[in-house]
């Protein structure tokens, strides 16, 4: 049941995903993630983390089950509504999906241009997010001239710059040193405090070890949720 205070922004109901010929990526998974939550999606490589991210942003379709994102049933969503929804979701892909011939600024600006933001806001948002990631000195560099770690931070910056209601990050610290990883997590925390729901798919234990957030552990396509939902935590504290 979704409460009014914390309506679910992501809801999976009995989701299964089978890749041809018969590879089970996700098996009968159900969960809810509430607005404003930060959740870690963990598990070994090939556990189904990326598949789950793809299903959330509707790049891929489930074989079975029902997905609701911010009140939109993804199986019935119309193209225009999908476009509007994608503008509200920031995704930092594992393979970055940057345009190599464009600069850091141009790559990040794409996420803001699709919302027809004015130039001044675009510049200020990009500087703001790059500042948190310690990347302002690279702003006019072409992304193909950057290291993998820097490219990863550009992808994260692009996902965060539009201040999405939902941010999905697939292995966001995979190519980063510890300082850069801390910067990225600081950015995610800042966004989460401002109300963004953050879902981080990772197998890097160091970033969620001391966290109070819920941890969704995937293994062999099956889900195990540890930690409490925020409202349960609040109730637990009161009692």
């Amino acid at each position: 049941m979704i409460s009014d205070d914390h309506p679910a922004i992501i809801e999976f109901v009995k989701i299964s995903k089978v890749y041809p010929p018969d590879i089970l990526a996700l098996v009968d998974i159900s969960f809810k993630i509430n607005k404003g939550e930060m959740v870690f999606l963990t598990g070994p490589s090939g556990a189904g983390k990326t598949t789950m991210i793809k299903l959330i942003c509707n790049i891929d379709k489930p074989t079975k089950g029902f997905i609701d994102i911010a009140g939109n049933d993804l199986s019935k969503i119309k193209p225009a509504a999908m476009q509007a929804l994608r503008q509200k979701i920031g995704v930092a892909y594992q393979d970055f999906r940057l345009l190599p011939r464009l600069t850091v600024f141009q790559n990040i600006a794409m996420a803001l241009e699709v919302k027809f933001m004015d130039g001044k806001t675009i510049r200020s948002r990009i500087h703001e997010v790059l500042n948190v990631l310690n990347m302002t000195n690279k702003i006019y560099k072409r992304t193909d001239k950057l290291s993998r770690g820097e490219q990863q931070r550009v992808a994260i910056a692009r996902a965060a710059a539009a201040r999405p209601i939902l941010l999905l990050a697939d292995e966001p610290t995979g190519n980063l040193d510890s300082q850069a990883g801390t910067d990225v997590m600081a950015l995610f925390s800042q966004l989460n405090e401002e109300g963004t729901t953050v879902v981080i798919a990772t197998h890097d234990k160091s970033i969620y070890r001391d966290s109070h957030c819920r941890i969704f552990h995937l293994d062999g396509g099956e889900l195990d949720i540890t930690g409490q939902e925020p409202e349960d935590r609040e109730q637990g504290t009161e009692t």
Partner: protein, 295 residues
């Protein structure tokens, strides 16, 4: 306004990315517009020439007897049934004799011992001054020979026929060049835009994932075709105008072109060619959008 800015920025980026193909397309559209409008210019001037040749569009039907005034309306009706006629004049031998005298001028004294009775009754038929009537003049003259009492039909047979062939040829060339313009404008623009879309596939995919709207993705592609049409037809029409000036300067003097008083295309027709070219190029880009941009 902001939307327009983004669309134009994207369009500029597209032009830069595929400038070679864009240039080729622009040249092709320009040449197609030039070819078509050049032949149309010739055709248009030929038609104007035909309209000026009013006297030659007169047919004279010689009769073996007078047409009494009561029968004239019926005969006129029969003539008008076949072709668009401006006026019909019934000429008596006396009137024909007077005209002959006037035509002879100072030599009219050769007619002093004659009266006009040796001249036949005749009907002068003036066709409306357009090419349709000129082209059909032969058939019309044959029709007139079937009129009751008609002995002979006379008109500027030889040159009118040759002129008719020339106009028909011009018309065919105009139609062919029009087809060429349609094909090149539509298909070249369509293929160039397809190239742009292929070159931008990664970018479009990212835009799609970022939630770009249809207008955001399709707008620049549509503008690209539109601009190809604007630039191509502007360059084509400008080149045509310079061709016209060159022809006017180099063929100015007694001769063929003076017969036609060579003039440039009327504004409305030039504007129509311009607008049609733009529409064709835009349609070309629409084809590519429908086929290659899936959102």
């Amino acid at each position: 306004m902001r939307y327009l800015f983004f669309i134009l920025t994207q369009t500029g980026r597209n032009f830069r990315q595929t400038w070679g193909a864009q240039l080729m397309t622009l040249l092709t559209v320009t040449l197609s517009v030039l070819f078509f409008s050049f032949f149309y210019l010739i055709y248009n001037n030929v038609l104007q020439g035909a309209a000026r040749l009013g006297d030659e569009l007169r047919l004279i039907v010689f009769l073996d007897q007078e047409v009494v005034p009561e029968l004239r309306p019926a005969l006129e009706k029969k003539i008008r049934e076949f072709s668009e006629v401006e006026k019909i004049i019934f000429i008596s031998p006396t009137e024909a004799f007077t005209r002959l005298g006037e035509q002879l001028g100072n030599d009219r004294d050769v007619l002093d011992d004659l009266d006009g009775s040796f001249l036949p009754y005749s009907i002068e038929i003036y066709l409306k001054k357009d090419f349709k009537n000129l082209a059909g003049i032969k058939d019309f003259s044959e029709y007139l020979t079937t009129l009751p009492g008609a002995m002979k039909v006379q008109y500027g047979h030889g040159w009118v026929e040759r002129f008719g062939y020339f106009v028909n040829l011009s018309r065919i060339i105009v139609l062919l060049s029009g087809a060429l313009l349609t094909l090149t404008a539509t298909f070249m623009v369509s293929y160039t835009i397809r190239l742009t879309l292929v070159a931008r596939q990664d970018e479009l995919e990212i835009f799609r994932l970022l939630g770009a709207t249809n207008a955001f993705i399709k707008g620049p592609v549509l503008i690209e075709g539109f601009l190809q049409g604007v630039f191509g037809s502007t360059m084509g029409m400008t080149a045509l105008y310079f061709c016209f000036l060159w022809i006017q300067n180099h063929f100015n003097g007694p001769g063929f072109l003076n017969l036609f008083e060579f003039s440039f295309l009327p504004f409305t027709e030039a504007a129509l060619i311009f607008v049609c070219s733009i529409c064709l190029c835009t349609v070309g880009s629409l084809f590519s959008i429908r086929k290659f941009v899936r959102i």
